[in-house]
């Protein structure tokens, strides 16, 4: 109890809440957790079930609130700060209830969750109060750890470059940012001593990392000084990748930037400073892209690329290209160059490329231009405004982005705020998952298509809004699907990348043929023939430059991100909970474990009697009914006695004809050898736990733990009439075969589950799949399939000797499930 006593006695104080919860618990008492007066009887079980239901209800309410917050990113809703404050605090309160309930269930076995809750809640309150980020004290941040919402710490330039590199995976050099906290001691003290020890240590570490791990020998350093009014002066320089030289260059850069303001001595404390240090790219060409060319293009909506070879300042090539896929070149001006000087692709201008043609002296090929334009437009979509992007094109290498900043508006070219005129309507209907307009060539995509093959800026059209399409959204200018809605995982990804998305538009594949140029207007829920890419402008849309957008992103980082996914992993601990979502997930797993252990240890003496379920297949399962899961009675429950909606659907799938293959599994020597350690572990385990199959269920909920041979699977589902609360979680791991065969089985599961719009993660033989916000009938169908899969995949890994075996297994499963003719419904349809 020591840790809990540290918390303040406020409305969220667990000691204050405990009274409420104890009174709420049917059959409970006001006694402290674990000291129930009715410890020997059914009252204890009812109290535990009550706490478990509290956890379930809180989890459901939290996930619903998180989903609503995430939808705000799509631009469809008008929201304000008050809404964000209210939502964040409601989620915090519910999380606290969950932390209390798991401790009440387990006799305070997870008191460290209170500390994590208190720390996370303090971070959320800091964000809401506009106080500095928890990372505000860190002097140096690696570029890979920075996102747009960190701009207050590291400055706009570093945050924007890190955002396009991190979120879109656009190529950029490794590097680090010297944050505001790194410069603050020196500016405050008027550079009384340089370098301050913490900055020196942090810069030294980051420089060594760049030198040793990344092979950097030179670095590019950009430093900016910011006045209290927000005016910025920026300097750029280079240095050897050595700590002393980098520190000296940082100081020199800041002195030069400050000199532009000529501040009186002693006034430096009001200034802020940021620096960005990047590994210098290899020799090659340097270029710049403006996503809106401006007067250079006669104010037409074209994109401009300029590039010159290192050491040839006068010989700049200029290109004007369209702003939508396939980014056709409209004009190019190529500066003359020596015929024998190498170009970035490794060839010289005089190299023959065909019988009649030479390479020529253009630095970029049309394909290079299209790639650069597509990448730049993806960055513009993400950041929500026209941009200037600096890049390097090393000899023999790929382009690297070195900087990104907003393109200042040119008064000579007034912004056109309307969606560009396009042709007739090709498609109408569906639900807007992310607002905005996009124009590009239509490409039909399937779940397993490689994202790298998808051209930047094309319009993706698919049968289903499958989470497997998420990587493609880093490149697509827009996405249209025939199935799916704004609540699914792909919709959240579209909002994250700010890709206009229209889901559930029936007939999209037929209406939008492959290769057609089309314009999507998600707000109007239409796709028209032809069109040009719209120019972002400051309109009613939610922009990444809006403080509320960044506030929402920062809150979601602390609230919604899920980093703990594998309960069997060593890092599945309270200390590793990085968000409220992690906390409730951890608490839920421990609550299920607690109920399962109680049944095993107590054997019913505490009232937690688990009733056998009589199944027509050789599967021993018991039911722990926490409220309304089955018709009353002490006899084994028959399937028709099951009242739990998700459990009934799952068991119907388990018992479906053809799924329960009772033929002996094919074992090879490799299977036996690979299973020897597991056999030993199985033998040494508590015999009472071996073969334990348990369903903890209520009317709308079930958690099913199955141990079938060496396979272990968990299904956790909530299924009610309220779609927004429904969710299904599936975990499958283990097997007797070597890891390669088990990985094939994981791939088989992944393929089947992805066809049902699950968000699937696999690691080795572990498969974790999630699905939320589903219609109840769809949820039943999905649980039925999970039941079939669970039965069907028993010992199937031992037969998976090749990828062909895995494909055959998938076909067999679909055939036996009567789904073979429905592959079209799983997203395979192409027009």
């Amino acid at each position: 109890m020591r840790k809990r006593s540290r918390l303040p006695r406020d409305p969220r104080d667990p000691r204050a809440l405990s009274d409420l919860y104890e009174k709420d618990a049917p059959g409970g008492s006001n006694a402290p957790p674990g000291e129930d007066k009715d410890a020997g009887g059914a009252g204890k079980a009812r109290a535990l079930f009550s706490k478990f239901r509290t956890i379930l209800d809180s989890n459901t309410a939290i996930l619903t609130a998180i989903a609503q917050m995430e939808r705000m990113l799509g631009g469809e809703y008008i929201f304000d700060r008050a809404y964000l404050e209210k939502s964040a605090r409601e989620i915090a309160d519910l999380t606290h209830r969950t932390v209390y309930a798991i401790n009440a269930m387990t006799g305070d076995a997870h008191l460290d969750l209170y500390d994590r809750y208190a720390a996370l809640n303090a971070e959320v309150e800091d964000i809401l109060a506009g106080r500095r980020d928890p990372g505000a004290g860190i002097p140096v941040l690696p570029l890979r750890d920075i996102r747009l919402e960190d701009r207050v710490l590291v400055g706009d330039h570093a945050a924007a470059l890190a955002e396009i590199a991190g979120r879109l995976e656009l190529p950029a050099p490794d590097g680090f940012a010297v944050a505001e906290a790194g410069w603050a001691p020196s500016l405050t003290s008027g550079f009384a001593s340089w370098p301050p020890r913490p900055l020196e240590q942090a810069v030294s570490g980051a420089v060594v990392d760049l030198y040793v791990r990344r092979g950097a020998r030179r670095v590019l350093i950009a430093t900016e000084a910011v006045t209290p009014e927000g005016e910025v002066r920026r300097t750029e320089t280079e240095a050897d990748c050595e700590a002393g030289q980098v520190l000296a260059a940082l100081r020199q850069g800041m002195d030069q930037a400050l000199a532009a303001f000529d501040p009186p001595p002693g006034d430096l404390a009001a200034f802020r400073g940021h620096s960005l240090v990047l590994a210098a790219p290899p020799e090659g060409a340097l270029g710049q892209i403006r996503t809106l060319a401006g007067p250079e293009a006669g104010c037409k909506p074209l994109l401009a690329i300029h590039i010159r070879l290192n050491g040839s300042p006068g010989a700049t090539d200029s290109y004007l290209a369209s702003r939508n896929h396939p980014y056709l070149l409209r004009e190019s001006r190529i500066a003359p160059k020596p015929l024998n000087k190498p170009l970035p692709d490794g060839r010289i201008p005089a190299d023959p490329v065909s019988r009649a043609w030479l390479r020529g002296s253009a630095v970029l090929t049309p394909d290079d231009c299209a790639w650069l334009a597509g990448a730049a437009m993806a960055a513009e979509r993400l950041l929500g405004e026209p941009l200037v992007l600096d890049f390097a094109h090393p000899y023999g290498g790929k382009p690297l982005f070195l900087g990104v900043r907003p393109l200042p508006a040119d008064p000579a070219c007034p912004a056109d705020s309307d969606v560009p005129e396009a042709g007739e309507i090709l498609l109408q209907g569906g639900t807007a998952a992310c607002l905005g307009a996009a124009s590009g060539m239509v490409i039909h995509v399937r779940e397993n298509d490689a994202a790298a093959d998808f051209p930047y800026g094309a319009l993706a059209v698919a049968r289903s809004a499958s989470p497997q399409l998420a990587p493609i959204l880093k490149r697509a200018s827009g996405v249209v699907t025939e199935l799916g809605d704004a609540a699914g995982h792909l919709a959240a990804v579209a909002r994250e990348y700010r890709v206009p998305a229209l889901f559930g538009a029936r007939g999209a594949l037929a209406a939008l043929p492959q290769g057609a140029l089309a314009t999507l207007d998600a707000e109007a829920r239409t796709v028209r023939r032809g069109g040009i890419a719209p120019v972002p402008h400051q309109g009613w849309e939610l922009s990444p430059s809006d403080p509320e957008f960044l506030l929402l992103r920062r809150l979601l980082q602390r609230i919604a991100s899920l980093t703990l996914t594998d309960p069997d992993a060593k890092d599945f601990t309270a200390d590793n909970c990085r968000s409220f979502h992690d906390l409730i997930h951890f608490a839920h797993e421990k609550a299920v474990e607690s109920l399962a252990n109680m049944r095993r240890a107590g054997k019913g003496k505490d009232g937690a009697k688990a009733r056998p379920i009589a199944l027509p297949v050789p599967l021993c399962m018991r039911l722990l009914d926490i409220g309304g899961a089955a018709a009353a009675g002490d006899a084994p429950a028959r399937i028709e006695d099951i009242r739990s909606r998700p459990l009934a659907a799952f068991l119907a799938g388990v018992c479906a004809p053809g799924m329960w293959d009772q033929a002996p599994a094919r074992f090879g020597m490799g299977d036996v050898i690979s299973a020897m350690d597991k056999t030993f572990a199985a033998l040494s385990a508590n015999p009472a736990h071996a073969g334990e199959n348990l369903a903890i269920a209520a009317r709308s909920y079930c958690n099913i733990s199955l141990r079938l041979g060496y396979h272990f699977s968990v299904v956790d589902a909530y299924l009610s009439e309220n779609s927004s609360k429904n969710a299904v979680y599936f975990r499958f791991v283990g097997g007797m075969a070597p890891i390669a065969a088990r990985a094939r089985r994981a791939q088989f599961l992944r393929n089947v589950l992805a066809g049902y719009d699950f968000k699937v993660e696999t690691q080795g033989d572990l498969v974790v799949a999630r699905l939320k916000m589903i219609e109840p009938a769809r949820g039943e169908e999905i649980l039925h399939i999970l039941g079939r899969l669970t039965a069907f995949t028993r010992q199937r890994d031992t037969g998976l000797l090749s990828d062909a075996d895995a494909a055959a297994l998938e076909t067999l499963f679909l055939e036996k499930s009567g789904l073979a003719d429905c592959s079209d419904a799983k997203g395979d349809a192409h027009v």
Binding site: I78, G539, L542, P547
Partner: protein, 139 residues
């Protein structure tokens, strides 16, 4: 107010005043209403909004409820005193049955809880516009 300036009068769109103390709300609503053809003015404090309304009444007022100084309910009362024909819509993040009842009692046309879809507020405004146009036709 001249006939041709009234809602429905010779096709001229109504003038809208938006009052919300959160800049993000007025920043997003102004271009949305303007795109829909309305002449729109926005304010983040009720005193300035009232001064402007007194100077020249608006056809439609969209106001937040909970604000520093004069709150949305008081602003609604003032607007109705000055211009009973002005249609009012309340937008609030603190919707309760009591506040909804009170705002209808004081003459609000509709009561919209935040967060709301842009399409919804445009729909409410359109309905209000149609109602006002019908009223003028009857008169």
């Amino acid at each position: 107010m001249l006939d041709n300036e009234r809602p429905g009068g010779e096709g001229k769109k109504p003038r809208i005043l938006v009052l919300d103390d959160e800049p993000i709300v007025v920043k997003r609503l102004k271009p949305a209403f303007e795109k829909a053809g309305y002449e729109t003015e926005t304010f983040t404090d009720s005193a300035s909004a009232l001064a402007r309304f007194t100077q020249r009444p608006f056809d439609i007022v969209i106001t937040d409820l909970k604000m520093e100084g004069m709150d949305g309910m008081a602003f609604l009362e003032k607007v109705k005193e000055l211009s009973p024909d002005t249609g009012c819509v309340i937008i609030t993040g603190f919707a309760t049955l009591d506040t909804a009842k009170e705002s209808f009692h004081k003459g609000a046309f509709d009561f919209v809880a935040k967060p709301f879809k842009l399409a919804d507020i445009l729909d409410v405004t359109k309905r209000l516009e149609e109602k006002m146009a019908g009223r003028h036709e009857e008169a």
